[in-house]
């Protein structure tokens, strides 16, 4: 029974003081494709909305999602100024292939490596694809797990709502 004590305590804390749900990106280190270490908390898009998408080279739905967005990305950027940041959770088995992979796909997104899933865990991402939408101040306003063709249209509606300053219904 002693194992449960801290669990209840944390749950109790959640109810009494803390705000539920992750608000901002945590200060976890990730790498860019040039080997530079970046603090995830420093990712921003100059006051415009930002999409964070967790993916991997072996994850077919992730690739479908990023390709679908890529088809419309130029229009999205022109209309809303949104930036998509793709975070690969490929481990050392595949992380060396990420750069050639995205070159082949022709993606224009900034891509970062989260090789041992540190950021993924800190953001409580279970399975990929997992997408976060951040407003211009870096607050996480929406998140979504999985990808179904057409989800990108829904995401774009939400991006527009963020731009218009509307509150996003969960």
């Amino acid at each position: 029974m002693k194992f449960y004590a801290p669990l209840f305590l944390v749950a109790f804390l959640a109810m009494s003081f803390a705000t539920l749900a992750q608000d901002k990106l945590p200060a976890i280190k990730i790498k860019d494709l040039n080997g530079n270490i970046i603090d995830a908390a420093s990712l921003s898009n100059d006051g415009k909305p930002m999409v964070i998408s967790f993916w991997a080279t072996w994850c077919k739905p992730c690739i479908r999602e990023l390709n679908a967005i890529n088809d419309q990305y130029i229009d999205w950027q022109d209309e809303t100024g949104v930036k998509l940041v793709a975070i690969s959770i490929d481990d050392s088995r595949n992380s060396a292939k990420v750069k050639p992979f995205i070159t082949g796909q022709g993606w224009e997104y900034p891509v970062y490596l989260d090789e041992n899933s540190e950021l993924r865990r800190a953001l409580n991402v279970n399975n990929i694809p997992h997408t976060f939408l951040l407003d211009g101040q870096g607050h996480i306003v929406w998140q979504h797990n999985g990808y179904i063709p057409g989800d990108e249209d829904h995401l774009y509606e939400l991006i527009n709502q963020v731009v218009e300053g509307k509150k996003i219904g969960k």
Partner: protein, 567 residues
């Protein structure tokens, strides 16, 4: 454990009360639960041995993370009630398996409790969680990361690994340093040079009646990474002192490992080339343990991870006791409005990988009769094991994978991906776990499967938000379970629903009674961050491979129910 929590709670409270404002931080988390109702299926399991007595089994995971500025703390509760079909036997309990407190400030990053860490590419240290496979080798102890300046990182760790719901007998200690020259020297442009080195050792007490076993085993690795804008080369070499254990037949030969990966990517052309050579390099925190548990290190397999169901039947797993091999991959994106590109462009990927045995020359240990000095026999246990020429190719092929993938958007509403695969698969080594020495001793040859497979995937956008995805797969082999055909159809309505049916038909099974259909159907519903899935299916016998170890998952039949959510 209890003491830790008292301290942990105090820490959380002190942070909460130390601040006189309304920022009390955030709690976030996720939850996952899967249940299965098993039905006995006399076709796939005539004896009923694989059918669990419990009828209904479930697993659950709850993660809670508390974040307040630079302070993060978390716990994970897991339950396996009881061991689910397909998971290792030790997962049959419930409790807190992961809890930590972490503080990050001005270059310091300190974690107390459980943590996941990786040095370099993982050759000497990597702890990670792969829940679906039953892998979690997290360390429970302390981790300190210090970044004195941009470009310099030092890490120190100490801890004991998780072993199901217990701890490893062994203690793991490690240190890693990484120096990235570009920020330190203020280089302009995209060129960077990164140097790194690690040292990891384990301690486990020993009391063997016959052998004098080292209680401390040390390993070290050095790595270099050169990056220019388009070109990247990474190399890591690791060495390990004598580490006789159950997985290397208790030989005293020191181990070594080399991993090199290079890539060049520019203007729609992506290429990569990798080389690996692993020699006696299983590194575990206990000399004896369950197969998949307690790995300290991780050896990259340098093969493609296939995810279509039929090609994934013949997946490779790294041979930590000795293997070498390479992988080459080229992909090119033919631009739209060219001959090969057509209207929307075409992406073609070619990939080749192989793996074969080391050229080993065995050096057995003679055992003498106690009465006189005559030799009774010669054994591997307690010997130097073998010597091997560095680039010499051994007699056994473990694996070969050649595949070509063509990906194309056909029209506004149609996308297609076609893939052809050719595998050479050493079943004795990869699945049955036979060692090279077993063949040498018995004078036998391994069982090899020759496999061809093809997959066509079509995605059709019916109307906005409605789409149909189809997979047509075929797998052809004269060996093993023979030929297979598979059809998958998945209808989805964004953003909430999907309906999928799949039939895998093993029409070529040499045993006519096993020429059966493996039918399954799934419905999924998404709302906000929650996903519900319910399904029915007959699951074919499968293989889970991790870290050089494969586990056979028995066939099963039944209803499944799963929930995942984030908050």
């Amino acid at each position: 454990m209890k003491k830790f929590f008292t301290g942990f709670n105090l820490l959380v409270f002190s942070f909460l009360w130390a601040q006189n404002n309304n920022d009390f931080g955030q709690i976030s988390g996720n939850f996952q639960s899967d249940f299965q109702y098993y039905i006995q299926d006399t076709l796939i399991d005539p004896s009923g041995d694989a059918n669990p007595d419990e009828r209904i089994l479930g697993t659950g995971f709850l993660n809670l993370t508390y974040t307040r500025g630079n302070f993060i703390a978390g716990v994970r509760y897991e339950n396996y009630q009881n061991q689910r079909v397909g998971l290792p036997e030790g997962y049959d309990s419930e409790g807190i398996t992961y809890r930590y407190a972490r503080f990050i400030q001005s270059g310091f990053d300190v974690t107390a409790g459980n943590y996941y860490e990786q040095f370099g590419s993982g050759l000497v240290l990597r702890t990670y969680e792969e829940r679906g496979l039953g892998i979690d080798n997290n360390l429970d102890g302390l981790r300190m990361i210090y970044q004195p300046s941009n470009g310099l990182t030092f890490k120190g760790i100490i801890g004991r690994q998780r072993n199901y719901f217990e701890k490893s007998e062994g203690l793991v200690r490690g240190f890693d340093a990484e120096w990235s020259l570009k920020p330190t020297l203020g280089w302009e442009g995209n060129t960077n040079f990164i140097l790194g080195g690690s040292f990891v050792s384990k301690f486990e007490s020993a009391n063997d009646p016959e052998l004098n076993i080292p209680e401390n085993v040390g390993s070290g690795a050095i790595r270099v990474n050169l990056i220019t804008g388009d070109f990247n080369i990474y190399g890591e070499y690791a060495y390990k002192s004598a580490d006789p254990n159950a997985f290397n037949s208790y030989i005293y030969k020191p181990g070594n490992a080399l991993y090199v990966a290079a890539s060049y990517a520019s203007n729609g052309l992506g290429t990569s080339l990798g080389f690996k050579r692993y020699d006696n390099f299983f590194f575990k925190s206990q000399r004896e343990s369950d197969l998949q548990q307690l790995f300290i290190n991780y050896l990259p397999s340098l093969t493609t991870l296939h995810t279509y169901a039929l090609p994934a039947l013949y997946s490779f797993n790294t041979q930590g006791n000795g293997e070498m091999g390479f992988q080459a991959e080229v992909s090119y994106n033919f631009e739209r409005k060219t001959f090969f590109g057509g209207k929307y462009g075409t992406l073609i990927t070619l990939s080749y990988a192989n793996s074969y045995s080391l050229d080993k020359d065995y050096k057995l240990r003679p055992r003498y009769s106690p009465a006189d000095t005559t030799i009774i026999d010669s054994v591997l246990r307690g010997s130097q094991g073998y010597s091997s020429s560095y680039f010499g190719r051994g007699p056994f092929t473990y694996f070969q994978d050649f595949h070509v993938e063509i990906k194309k958007k056909l029209s506004k509403n149609w996308k297609a991906t076609a893939t052809y695969y050719n595998f050479i698969y050493n079943n004795s080594t990869l699945i049955k776990g036979a060692s090279d020495f077993d063949y040498v001793e018995a004078g036998s040859t391994p069982e090899i499967f020759y496999v061809n497979a093809g997959v066509l995937e079509l995605l059709y956008k019916i109307k906005p938000r409605h789409s149909l995805r189809t997979e047509i797969q075929g797998l052809f082999t004269q060996q093993d379970r023979g030929n297979w055909a598979l059809l998958l159809m998945e209808y989805s309505i964004a953003p909430s629903w999907f309906f999928a049916v799949q039939d895998a038909y093993n029409y070529g099974n040499p045993d006519e009674d096993l020429q059966i259909h493996y039918l399954s159907a799934n419905v999924g519903y998404f709302f906000a961050t929650t996903r519900l899935q319910i399904g029915y299916g007959r699951q074919q016998q499968g293989v889970f491979c991790v870290g050089g170890i494969c586990r056979i998952v028995p066939a099963s039949n039944g209803f499944t129910f799963g929930v995942t959510t984030n908050f």
